[in-house]
Amino acid sequence: MKRLKLGFNKQSKHMKKTKLTSGLFIAPSFVGVSIFFLIPFCVIIYYAFVSSPVNGVFVGFDNFKKVLGNAAFQSAVKNTGVFSAISVPLAVVLSLLLALVLNMKLPLRSQFRTAFLSPMMVPVASIVLIWQVLFHYNGSVNEILMKFGFDKIDWFKSQYAIIVVVILFLWKNLGYNMILFMAAIGSIPQDMIEVARLESATELQIFFRIKLRYLSPAIMFVTIMSLINSFKIFREVYLLTTDYPYDAIYMLQHFMNNKFKNLDYQILSASAIIMSLVMAVIIAILLIGESRFGKDVEG
């Protein structure tokens, strides 16, 4: 008994030491995450509830009301929502289709894959330059339109600007999503498909009933990544059109970037918190949907 007790005490001490050792290993990363993420996030929350960084007077939800009532913010939310609603599904569907096509035994398959992946390797500044040349008022696209008898379109300074940005987003991100899908397709167990074929299932049935189910985690991941990337399109739009573009492509990050430049940290912080809460809700919904839809998938 004594020996057992001795053994048990030794084990709990052992566990404590193990925990301590593990903690020490985790500590550097934890310190880094705290310094660069957690603490700044707490500072942002503080800024969102005070009147100015100098006086620090608590003002409750005034900053949030100002943000939500700001016409530019509302416009930015609408534009960002519309852009994400168009570009994310398109990015997922088109990249999935591309992956399925390139999964077939086609000639020059690897060359096509490389071609679709190459936009990822191009620096942003070069992408912007290419797009400016193409879609400038005196650019190549308008030249082609005029040859066919159409009028010039001011691509960046009209309602057509959103189309240009969507095309830019798809061109940049299809390759990456396609690779993710190709990897996921490669991991679908072939015996399930063979069984389905033996049982006279059509290709469409195989796709929707088997492949799609197996691809659901990948679809979820690609959707989330595309959603995040859709917010990052600000970078290209900013380089194309600077900080006050035509209002059709004025995004949330334009609003926040400009507030940062104007040193309006309170509004910036409040809008950042609103945006992160919305993102968290959307991703939570997606994750819940995925867990329900794909829970019966093997593995």
């Binding site: 550097p28 880094g32 016409a71 008022y137």
Partner: protein
């Protein structure tokens, strides 16, 4: 059984021991990882401190430099330091008698009445008539005013051509001045300030001779004269031809260790002559502008230079040490990060002590290390007045500076003292864009009279980088400084460049209403205060204001006090061969109509914009009539164009009571209407802009000291740097009265000479300065009349304060300029362009409402 149990126990213990060892190793590894990751957070002490940035506000200094001032009689601003003394040529007291032909000077007072009359050969030159123009009597040879009978021109009489030069010295420790010797007069050229002294007592001087008007500046000449120890000229050489550069401006002259004489011009051309002034060699250094030439501890000449990169608008400085001047071998040190260098002194250990526009710093070439020692202002020295500098081995400094108003010089000997032994005053720090933004004379005067406070200056602009980005970065740095709570916030800040409409910024600046009493506040023009009043909070008080308006002849634009857009259109249609204003192009016309009329298109209270209305489209269509770029080929100045009617109107900038004299002189008549910039609603487009606005920062530790300085500064009169009308009513009226005062004739005792009516006599040669342009147009100011004062006041009373934030204006004009270009080029319609402008500017105001 027991053996089995003990064996298993032994095995267990062995495993525990192994596990223990592994844990120890693991813990050590974890600690190493943590220390490695945290080491990146340490301060980098090896980083070279940029000498362009001011030191932090609360930097503790180990030493102070206590000045001992000795007045000097020297009036020159060119010295050559040799050993403990500074040598100079004293030109004061020379008779300025013109004698450019043999015999006695034949000078008679020339007037328009006797022009063309013959020279009276018996007239003697005296001090009373020196510099006067000669004339020729009628009937015989005739001459223009300014020429003698043979038609030869008189030389300039400011610097003596033919008088001996007196070489003097000043002891840089105690200020003792003594005559060294008298040098033979320079036969050709004027002494232009550079001396080198040889070991054998010989002296080398540079002299400059301007080319004639017909020949142009390319015929300017530079001479080097060699004097022996008795002051006699032994040799001379025309150096411009040696260097073969068109515009020779000597930067310095020095000996190398072989007693060769090295002369550099300010464009980086270097010539080497031997001690007898025989040409040895010349070379071209890669240097746009040579600041300074001296000799180091090894008797090697060196130059400090700068290069300007037009593409990036940056200035880089460097140093070249002449290892072997004859062979053209130099040791180069690039990017030594010093701007506006004035003087250099070299210590025996090879340390170069640099005196620039703000500080004294040390530079060690082999380490490429620069270290700021002390700010000149902290030593009660205004850097722009420094004419001579020497660093002593014991860490003391000697500085000769000149008061340009009185012409007097003084020697300041700065003794390095332990800071603990010096009475410490409370620091009041002012933040400015660059050090010239605020009057150093005012700071010096305050520091001297205050027992409690001492003002320091922190600057934010990188003076080596004159790009727009650098300017905007400086504004950001100023804004961040005002908002900072880490002790780096200055006590006072130059407010005019900050976005005071931002809540963060206005919260970071004190309300000056709490400091001003009623009498003080009522003494300030309300329109001056209005520009810095945000929601009732007074953020700054400008020291001075100016008025911007437009003027034109009454017989052309009418006797009106305002101008509308339609009036301008009508003028352009009526006078198609004339320019409305000088430098008229699309951008200028756009600015003319929009800059002062933005409130026509923007309702600042609601943020509502109207750039798609007909007026804006009319402005664009009108501006499109003008060229994209102005043709600058015209040799006529703006003044000449106004006088001859080529230009119809002028943008007038009134900053004192004499300004309108020049405006009227431009038109050649006093019948001038000051109508303001064109407006759309018939109101007067004359605007009031303010200058020198300082505000007290909320995060300041010395608000009382800041207010004390601010009060002093607002009342301080500094003729050399302040401009504009005083924002204070009493000072404004005083200036109006002083402007009307004449210079009167005084007797030898300084008493006024009265006429038969007992009134003082106005001096005929009273002079208030003047202005001239390259095409020969000149104007001499006269005492201001009562009518001119009243007219100026009338214009000021009509002026509206210009409440425009530079950042907002820049943003709006940036958008407009970008969008209108396709319309000006005929690629887009005016409707398309105006709708895009409306969309983008409206977005800006929606975001910032």
């Amino acid at each position: 059984m027991c053996d089995i149990i003990s064996l298993s126990t032994r095995n267990f213990m062995n495993e525990v021991n192994i596990l223990k060892n592994k844990k120890i190793i693991a813990v050590l590894a974890a600690m190493a990882m943590m220390m490695t990751s945290l080491s990146g957070c340490s301060g980098n002490k090896d980083t070279k401190e940029s000498p362009k940035k001011e030191s932090s506000v609360n930097e503790g200094s180990e030493f102070a430099y206590v000045p001992t001032v000795t007045e000097l009689t020297a009036t020159t601003d060119n010295y050559n330091v040799v050993g403990d003394k500074a040598y100079y040529i004293d030109l004061s007291g020379n008779n300025s008698v013109e004698a450019d032909w043999e015999g006695e000077a034949q000078v008679v007072e020339g007037t328009e009445e006797n022009e063309g009359t013959e020279v009276n050969e018996e007239t003697e030159a005296t001090e009373g008539n020196d510099g006067a123009d000669a004339t020729v009597e009628a009937g015989e040879k005739t001459a223009e005013i300014g020429e003698n009978a043979e038609g030869e021109e008189f030389g300039d009489s400011d610097d003596s051509l033919n008088d001996p030069l007196r070489l003097k010295s000043v002891n840089l420790k105690d200020g003792q001045e003594e005559d060294v010797c008298t040098l033979e007069a320079i036969p050709e050229g004027y002494f232009n300030g550079h001396i080198a002294l040889g070991d054998d007592g010989s002296m080398y001087l540079t002299a400059y001779l301007w080319g004639s008007e017909e020949d142009g500046a390319g015929d300017d000449k530079v001479f080097i004269y060699k004097y022996n120890a008795d002051g006699e000229i032994e040799a001379h050489i025309e150096f411009g031809s040696v260097l073969q550069s068109q515009y020779v401006s000597v930067a310095g002259i020095a000996f190398d260790s072989n007693q060769n004489v090295i002369v550099s011009d300010s464009e980086g051309n270097v010539g080497v002559v031997d001690k007898d002034l025989n040409f040895v060699t010349k070379s071209q250094l890669n240097a746009d502008n040579v600041f300074f030439m001296g000799v180091n501890e090894k008797n090697e000449p060196f130059i400090v230079y700068s290069n300007y990169d037009e593409a990036t608008s940056t200035v880089t400085s460097g140093m070249k040490i002449f290892k072997n001047a004859k062979a053209g071998e130099t040791e180069d040190y690039e990017d030594i990060s010093v701007s506006s260098l004035n003087c250099v002194s070299v210590l025996s250990d090879g340390t170069y002590v640099l005196q620039d526009y703000e500080n004294i710093s040390t530079y060690v070439p082999k380490d490429n290390k620069m270290e700021k020692i002390v700010s000149l202002l902290d030593c009660d020295i205004v850097s722009d007045t420094v004419r001579c500098f020497k660093a002593w081995e014991n860490g003391d400094y000697s500085i000769i500076n000149i008061d340009y108003e009185s012409g007097n010089s003084s020697l300041s000997y700065l003794t390095k003292t332990d800071a603990s032994q010096v009475v410490k005053k409370e620091d009041v720090v002012i933040g400015t864009m660059y050090s010239g933004s605020i009057s150093k004379q005012a700071i010096l005067a305050f520091n001297k009279q205050s027992d409690k406070y001492r003002v320091k200056v922190v600057t934010y602009l990188d003076t080596d980088d004159w790009s727009d980005e650098s300017y905007m970065d400086a504004i950001s740095d100023m804004t961040n400084a005002v908002l900072s709570t880490d002790g780096s916030c200055p006590d006072l800040m130059e407010i005019s460049l900050l976005n005071i409409n931002s809540g963060s910024v206005s919260d970071a600046i004190c309300d000056l209403n709490e400091y001003m009493d009623d009498s003080f506040k009522n003494n300030i023009f309300e329109s001056c205060l209005a520009g810095y009043n945000v929601n009732g909070k007074q953020l700054a008080i400008p020291k001075t204001f100016s008025v911007e308006t437009m003027a034109g002849k009454k017989d052309i634009i009418g006797d009106v006090d305002h101008l509308s857009f339609e009036d301008v259109e009508a003028l352009v249609d009526k006078y198609p061969d004339c320019e409305i204003i000088d430098y008229m192009d699309q951008a200028t016309m756009l600015q003319l109509f929009l800059y002062f009329n933005l409130d026509k298109f923007i309702d600042y209270s609601t943020g509502e914009c109207n750039f798609d209305n007909d007026e804006f489209k009319s402005v664009l269509k009108f501006a499109a009539r003008f060229p994209e770029e102005y043709d600058y080929d015209s040799r006529d100045s703006s003044a000449s164009k106004l006088a001859n009617g080529t230009s119809l109107m002028e943008m007038a900038y009134l900053m004192d009571f004499r300004s309108m004299q020049e405006v009227m002189a431009h038109f050649g008549t006093e019948d001038v209407a000051f109508v303001g910039y064109p407006t759309f609603d018939g109101s007067c487009g004359t605007f009031l802009t303010t200058n020198d606005a300082l505000g007290i920062c909320e995060n300041s530790d010395s608000k009382e000291g800041a207010w004390e300085f601010l009060k002093f500064y607002l009342g301080y009169k500094d003729e050399s740097s302040s401009y504009g009308f005083s924002s204070f009513k009493d000072e404004f009226e005083k200036a109006a009265k002083e402007a009307c005062e004449h210079e009167y004739v005084k007797d030898e005792n300084g008493e006024l000479v009265l006429d038969e009516n007992g009134e003082p006599i106005i001096a005929e040669d009273e002079s208030y300065g003047g202005v001239s342009y390259e095409d020969g147009w000149t104007y001499e100011y006269h005492a201001v009349s009562e009518e001119e004062v009243e007219l100026t006041k009338e214009i000021i009373n009509k002026a509206r304060p210009l409440n425009l934030n530079i950042i907002v204006i820049q943003k709006i004009f940036g958008i407009i300029s970008e969008e209108v270009q396709p319309f000006f080029k005929g690629q887009k319609s005016v409707d398309d362009v105006s709708s895009v402008v409306q969309n983008r500017v409206q977005l800006y105001f929606k975001e910032n409402s």
